[in-house]
């Protein structure tokens, strides 16, 4: 097994890390790669930020005030009547 991950593997792990706990060994190998690779530091940091943006987008979003059209309501009532 190679000690260092490739940048390609690191890109995937940057996201996977946000979805599940990684093993200690994987974390150490990632840490070493990040120390040595500026490109991966940039990508890794941006993926983490993106996740925060998505979270902030959904958590601040209000349920839209939506109305069914009268036609849609009539259609639903008709469908219920057929049942």
């Amino acid at each position: 097994m190679k000690m260092l991950f490739t940048c390609r593997q690191m890109a995937r792990l940057a996201s996977e890390e946000l979805d599940r706990p990684l093993s200690f060994q994987v974390k150490v190998r990632m840490f070493i790669h990040l120390l040595l690779c500026r490109d991966c530091r940039t990508y890794h940091d941006q993926i983490k930020r993106v996740d925060q943006f998505i979270e902030s987008y959904y958590s601040t979003r209000k349920e839209p005030e939506m109305s069914l059209s009268e036609e849609a309501k009539a259609r639903m009532i008709a469908a219920l009547e057929r049942e």
């Binding site: 979805d19 940039t42 839209p64 849609a72 219920l80």
Partner: protein
């Protein structure tokens, strides 16, 4: 038909529609899901124990309808996921970056304070494929765990990681282009 079912449409139709639309982002699909919810509710009304309000009961039925809707969609998407990764082209044969990832000019904290950034973010999120968006809506609106999202969509954890990575990667590119690196 029982008359009370008719009053459900008038009383709860809009609320259910808002709930549904915010999760599926499509008027027709959202309406169909609400209609299916009313029909299932009518059929199952005799089992309704009145332990919760009618509205919460209807919403819980709608939740299942939304999950079923996405489950069938996710199946199709997963069937089409190829093993080769969507980011392969960014790396050379040694697995190193062909071009350095573009640095971001503003800090994300600065960006979030801009109203225009919120618009760019919304536009970028809306461009994501439906199933990818749904994973994040389960995660960040409904607060489902990864395990529950996989169960709901009937996909494996590795399928889910592929979907979340695709979504994060696409959003990163979209934000880089339309905000952090690009002209605005």
């Amino acid at each position: 038909m029982e008359d009370f079912a008719k009053t459900w449409v008038q009383e709860y139709g809009d609320a259910l529609f808002g709930y549904s639309y915010s999760r599926v982002n499509d008027r027709t699909v959202a309406e169909d899901l609400v209609q299916d919810t009313f029909i299932s509710a009518l059929k199952g009304y005799k089992n309704f124990k009145h332990e919760s309000s009618v509205k919460s009961w209807l919403i819980s039925i709608l939740k299942h309808k939304i999950i079923d809707h996405y489950r069938s969609k996710a199946r199709n998407v997963i069937d089409r996921i190829e093993e080769s990764d969507h980011i392969d082209h960014l790396f050379n044969e040694k697995g190193r970056w062909k071009n350095s990832p573009q640095e971001w000019n503003d800090t994300p904290e600065e960006a979030l304070q801009h109203k225009e950034f919120q618009k760019v973010l919304e536009k970028c999120v809306s461009k994501l494929p439906e199933t990818q968006r749904q994973v994040f809506s389960f995660k960040d609106i409904d607060h489902l765990s990864g395990e529950d999202i996989c169960k709901a969509l009937n996909i494996s954890p590795s399928n889910m990681w592929i979907l979340t990575h695709r979504a994060r990667h696409s959003l990163r590119s979209c934000l880089s282009k339309n905000w952090f690196g690009g002209a605005r």
